[in-house]
């Protein structure tokens, strides 16, 4: 069923009786060409592009719970392409381009809103780092504008320009950055993959990965064994447990990232704004809630919930930066489980087991990567070649030291990225 304004109108006039399931609920078949473990954003987009670009539709996505139930359903929805290291830069640029055509492509309104991102800086050193980043973005063909203090004030006069602990020097403005409706991204990809014949199988936890003579042969699930020629692990938040089923250890430590939303408010923040002196980023959803977050809780955890010190720290940063949000009430807080890698960048690669592939380590940047992650991973799965936009997300880069992608410059301690 094709979605459009006309269809909404027609259904509205006829009692909304014609709507159909967005996706089927098929029973798992005994064998697929390819099984994707994980029905989150990355798994679903991988399935979609496998079908769209490579004609691979004898594919199953196995999801332990409900599709889109992982980090794609619990993030701060920011979409951007503002990385400064080669390897990252071209990948996120590729992703942003996919975002820009996503709604037509999926025939699903994911509410991608290019409202612009302002990365604030607070010292000469931070300005220099922002300039390095912005120049990389420009050289990538993306957009970046370096704003001085007064240009920034003209855009966002409500920031604390007067007595902030760390004064505002300016911002790196990324006009094409913005937000999207996170759940809709999962659903749009799910619907697109399903309509092309991919089986989305919910409530189907994988309990084992079958390997024979160094080659993957299928998976064990709570709904029985499923044979597969290729298996793709795309289970951020549980990457280490899934990999362990194949006897692998990953360079991943799992950490909690909390996020927050306030009660609905009339429009007051038009951009995405990030603080430079404390981890704090904020935007306002179309529903009116302020959506914001900060840094990790810092200790390894799978609890999908955080603790008060980080809650308070994030709020302090908010009050430092924009005291006009003080009266907004936090409605809900939640935590996602982040795959933290030793350099803060993801891994999209083969493994030492034939036919077994891994996509993990998204740290807390996974949402914006969803289109490109699926797109390049599908390319790797289908062709066994790295996609040109993702040649450096290799699993062995830590061992060899080649192409480490440490944007934060904090080194191999997982929780510092």
């Amino acid at each position: 069923m094709r979605f459009s304004g006309l269809r909404v109108l027609k259904e509205g006039l006829t009692g909304n009786k014609g709507w159909r399931p967005h996706w089927r609920d098929p029973a798992p078949k005994p064998e697929y060409d390819l099984v994707i473990i994980g029905g989150g954003g990355h798994g679903l987009s991988t399935a979609y592009y496998l079908a769209r670009d490579h004609g691979l539709t004898n594919v199953a996505v196995l999801e332990r719970g409900y599709i889109g139930g992982g980090n794609i359903g619990r993030n701060t929805t920011i979409v951007r392409a503002n990385y400064f290291l080669q390897g990252n830069s071209e990948f996120y640029s590729h992703s942003l381009k996919l975002w820009e055509g996503l709604e037509e492509d999926l025939n699903y309104n994911v509410m991608h809103s290019q409202r612009g991102i302002l990365n604030l800086f607070h010292s000469d050193g931070q300005r220099d780092a922002a300039a390095r980043r912005g120049n990389m973005m420009l050289s990538q063909g993306d957009d970046a504008i370096l704003l001085g203090r007064e240009e920034l004030r003209a855009k966002v006069p409500f920031l604390n320009f007067d007595d902030q602990r760390f004064p505002l020097y300016g911002a790196l403005y990324h006009p094409r950055g913005g937000t999207a409706r996170h759940d809709a991204v999962a659903w749009g990809y799910a619907r697109g993959a399903d309509s092309r014949g991919v089986d989305l199988i919910q409530n189907c936890e994988v309990t084992g990965i079958d390997v024979e003579n160094g080659r993957v042969t299928g998976v064990q699930t709570v709904r029985g064994p499923i044979r597969a020629k290729k298996v793709a692990m795309v289970a951020a938040g549980r990457s280490s447990q899934v990999a362990a089923m194949a006897g692998m250890r990953l360079p991943i430590e799992s950490h909690i990232l909390q996020a927050f939303v306030t009660e609905g408010l009339k429009p007051v923040i038009d951009h995405v704004i990030t603080f430079g002196m404390g981890h704090f980023y904020i935007s306002q959803s179309d529903k009116g809630g302020l959506v914001f977050g900060g840094d990790l809780d810092f200790y390894a955890s799978y609890a999908a919930r955080g603790n008060l010190p980080k809650v308070e720290h994030v709020m302090e940063a908010g009050m430092a930066l924009m005291p006009m949000i003080g009266k907004a009430r936090v409605l809900r807080s939640w935590g996602g489980i982040m795959d933290m890698s030793p350099d803060g960048s993801p891994i999209i690669d083969r493994t030492h087991i034939d036919g077994l592939y891994v996509n993990c380590g998204w740290n807390y940047g996974g949402f914006k990567a969803v289109p490109a992650s699926g797109n390049v991973f599908a390319h790797l799965l289908a062709t066994d070649q790295y996609h040109p936009a993702a040649t450096r997300f290799r699993l062995d880069r830590f061992r060899t030291g080649r192409g480490i992608l440490d944007e934060e410059g904090t080194g191999s301690q997982h929780n510092l990225h």
Binding site: R238, S240, Q241, R249, L250, P251, I252, E253, S254, F298, Y299, A300, S301, Y302, A303, N307, P309, P342, F398, R399, S412, Q413, H414, N415
Partner: protein, 87 residues
Amino acid sequence: MRITCPHCGDRDSREFSYKGHALALERPAPDAGAEAWDDYVHLRENPAGETRDLWHHHFGCGAWLVVTRNTLTHDVLGCELASEARR
């Protein structure tokens, strides 16, 4: 979260900073080989359940601690000084 520092007693986690798994205490010999070093610096068991990790009582006594913890429930099951944990 609260941690009982062997020196200072029951304290809020905001006094502590975190390093990662306690395997950081098991530094390989310089000639242990690339795999051993990759294991030490990068690879992690990353258990969903009980783990032992390193915390630093940064805003307290400065002690490095090995905390036995459950990563699913946040239960704190034990805490000892890193200097004694290795012996």
